[in-house]
Amino acid sequence: MLVEAVYLKYNYDFRDYTGASQKRRVLVAMREMECATVSELQSRVLHEPNGFAQLLQYLTIPVTEMFRDPDYFLAVREQVAPFLKTYPSLKIWVAGCSTGEEVYSLAILLKEEGLLERSIIYATDINPESLEAARRGVFPLDRMRLYTENYQKSGGKAAFSDYYTAAYGGALFERSLMENVTFADHSLSTDSVFSETHFVSCRNVLIYFNRRLQDRVLGLFHDSLCHRGFLGLGSKESIDFSSYAERFEPLARRERVFRKVSP
């Protein structure tokens, strides 16, 4: 099977990704990479220099937006930020950051709450092309209308256009937002915890994992979080079906913000 071969050769582990969505993405990859069969795709991925990098673009889903689910960011602003303000320095982990929209959103929120300067944000993903896009911080101009609306609904305190300039055919976000952001290659399926954090935001990543991998990842987050640290998930993601259900308590249940139950 393709994902076994990818794991053995490249050490990218997609074996515990849920089946239906992964199957669709392999089919899309076959169509776009003009392979008639999975074995043809597999041989290109294993033997052509660029084959795996290409496949990776299809296996990971870089679909995201800024201030997606404004209620989530409002809950972070109103219910998490007051606790974060009590720490002299902060570490925040945006896991599965994709092309960076959520990282910029969080950085803007932290800046407005007076927290950005004392924060270190780790933004991680397994897809190097997504990380590169995140580092560039240029997003399509035609998305700005939606993002502005989202930002306003999320409790934004400034004019959203203050944070970007139209350039290079897109919206280039202010570099200062990323001064304390470290982008890094990190796999939730194979890598381990790298730092103690106060807040982990991992949105719309767990839905692609089966229960086994969800448990592993929630374990990583639990280990990484400090005493009574915060975890934010996607709006349809739940820990109810995981073995960590008792290890986190809801802070804002509907908005999917949780707090670590210690120890």
Partner: protein
């Protein structure tokens, strides 16, 4: 399992169908209606008050229970997994729709094969035609609402054109057939 998809006019059509399901109905019923992505879907609540079966919004990784009516929430695709649980995903919209009827029907057809019935109702786009074709290929039963009485006819028409469904029926007849469907 029964999968029901609808778009424009779909809520009214479903109001005509779901209350007809008897309390002891065996299969799980999963419904997708296209709703605007920017607001929470209240469909499960709306229909819970009208149906004799339990009605819930389908959750990620939730095991599928018989005799239960599930609704796809807004903004995420809904798929059926081999272990007969649901999963959600944020892949791009299909035929401008997320959740897409095609994605639910295709994944359910892969898992349930002949034990699946697909019902496609009124709608103004082309979502569902691919899904109904897959259900047919995998031996499931396909029923399409008669476009003559559909509020929007393009969705049922496209499915009829593309996959020659087993039955093309007015809503009143689907209401009669639906309670007779059983999991083999």
């Amino acid at each position: 399992m029964v999968v029901i998809g609808g778009s424009a006019g779909g809520v009214d059509a479903l109001v005509g169908l779901l209350p007809a399901l008897p309390a002891g109905f065996g299969p799980a019923v999963t419904c997708i209606l296209h709703v605007p992505p920017d607001r929470d879907s209240r469909l499960a609540e709306l229909f819970a008050a009208r149906a004799l079966l339990p009605v819930r919004e389908a959750q990620d990784k939730e095991p599928i229970q018989p005799g239960t009516v599930y609704f796809a929430g807004s903004g995420y695709h809904l798929s059926v997994e081999q272990d007969r649980s649901f999963s959600l995903s944020c892949e791009p919209p299909v035929q401008f729709a997320r959740p897409a009827i095609d994605i639910l029907m295709e994944s359910a057809a892969d898992v349930y094969g002949p034990a699946l019935a697909g019902i496609l109702l009124t709608g103004a786009n082309f979502d569902g035609a691919d899904g109904m074709c897959r259900i047919r290929e995998r031996g499931g039963l396909t029923i399409v609402q008669d476009p003559e009485e559909a509020q929007a006819r393009s969705m049922p028409e496209e499915a009829i054109r593309r996959c020659a469904p087993h039955l093309v029926l007015p809503l009143s007849a689907i209401r009669t057939v639906l309670p007779l469907l059983e999991t083999p």
